[in-house]
């Protein structure tokens, strides 16, 4: 009986070291909680948060007529403050026409090509960042709510697999840093848990606003792994998984990070 209990404990310890444990929901922390006082103050004050410069640009773009259809975003969606409230908290979301999840950037570009009959905006262009920041801002403070159903499950699983997959010359996985070693230091900077709550966000290092895909690219380059082209399905699956992993946490868009 006693040896049985010891064996059970031994197996449990072995299992814990072999498989990275997911962070319990109550122990999750936003990247905000790892920042210094000054950077937090910058994010909290709308007149000090540089991300708000993009939000203001997005507000102007929202009302600007564009494309062969001569329509603006507002012509279909009206006032973004009501129509876009909570939308970013649900993205990436399953798109029936594409048969797979799409992120907010892809959604904006679908509207541009299909509704406005205009050209898609390039990834990381000022206009696309401005529009996604403006739409994201309307969900600030709302809990992230990613659908976990039959349609999204295979893509969530693909994202989860990518998150746990060791890759690159350094043989690292996302989970190795952001689940097993969060709170530790990497080159002097704290390792956050990697919850994508505030994208697009202003990184002081970038001196600009950037999308989640830009951040993922950064991580992959750091791991000496091959990065994907912007808009690749692999990125969207990973974005979907990351947002599901941050479910219930408040949207911070546009966040500020060091």
């Amino acid at each position: 009986m006693r040896s049985g209990a010891v064996a059970a404990v031994a197996t449990a310890v072995l299992a814990a070291t072999a498989i990275a444990a997911e962070i319990p929901l109550a122990d999750r922390k936003s990247g905000y909680d790892f920042m210094g006082r000054e950077t937090r103050a910058m994010q909290d004050d709308d007149t000090a948060n540089p991300g708000m410069l993009w939000v203001l640009d997005g507000e102007a773009l929202w009302k600007r007529k564009d494309g062969a259809a001569g329509k603006s975003c507002a012509d279909c969606h009206g006032d973004a403050q009501t129509s876009m409230k909570g939308v970013a908290a649900r993205y990436p979301t399953f798109n029936a026409a594409r048969g797979r999840p799409i992120d907010l950037e892809q959604r904006v570009n679908m509207c541009r090509t299909d509704q406005q009959q205009s050209t898609p905006l390039p990834f990381e262009s000022k206009d696309l960042l401005a529009l996604t920041a403006y739409v994201g801002r309307q969900s600030r403070g709302m809990p992230i709510d990613i659908a976990d159903d039959e349609r999204t499950r295979p893509f969530l699983q693909a994202g989860r697999d990518m998150f746990n997959q060791r890759q690159g010359q350094l043989n690292l996985s996302c989970a190795l840093c952001h689940e097993d070693n969060w709170g530790q230091k990497l080159a002097g900077a704290p390792i956050p848990q990697g919850h994508a709550t505030g994208y697009p966000l202003y990184r002081l290092e970038w001196q600009s606003l950037g999308s989640l895909q830009r951040r993922l690219r950064n991580c992959l380059v750091g791991m000496r792994a091959q990065s994907y082209t912007f808009g690749a399905p692999e990125y969207v699956d990973l974005e979907l998984f990351l947002m599901w992993r941050a479910r219930g946490m408040p949207v911070e868009t546009p966040a500020v990070r060091p």
């Binding site: 910058m42 004050d45 000090a48 410069l53």
Partner: protein, 106 residues
């Protein structure tokens, strides 16, 4: 025109020390970075910022290439009378932007 964000308290007591915060959208290209063909990207920065309180200059700053993009300047002044604060940024390639904010002093 470049987008700017200004934070000035709408109301203040006479003699009170008030904080003024300004943020402006600008690349602040240093002039030291090469482009992808190896040629240096020409310098394009804001070089000067001036704040006037009812026409009187109360704060001036010179900016240099080491200052980050989207410069955020914050400073203090004493609320003396109701009126307008004018903010003016000037820089390379004829860059010029201005904003104003009103304050009521009681």
């Amino acid at each position: 025109m470049a987008r700017a964000l200004i934070n000035v308290p709408a109301k203040a007591k006479r003699g009170e020390v008030i904080e003024i915060k300004t943020l402006i959208s600008h690349n602040m290209e240093t002039g030291f970075r090469p482009d992808n063909t190896g040629k240096p990207v020409p310098r394009d920065i804001i070089t000067e910022f001036v704040c006037k309180y009812n026409g009187e200059e109360i704060f001036r700053a010179e900016l240099f290439p080491a200052i980050s993009a989207n410069p955020f300047l914050t400073f203090f002044t004493i609320a003396t009378e109701s009126g307008t604060l004018n903010f003016e940024w000037t820089g390379d390639n004829g860059f010029s932007a201005s904003e104003s904010a009103n304050i009521t002093v009681e």
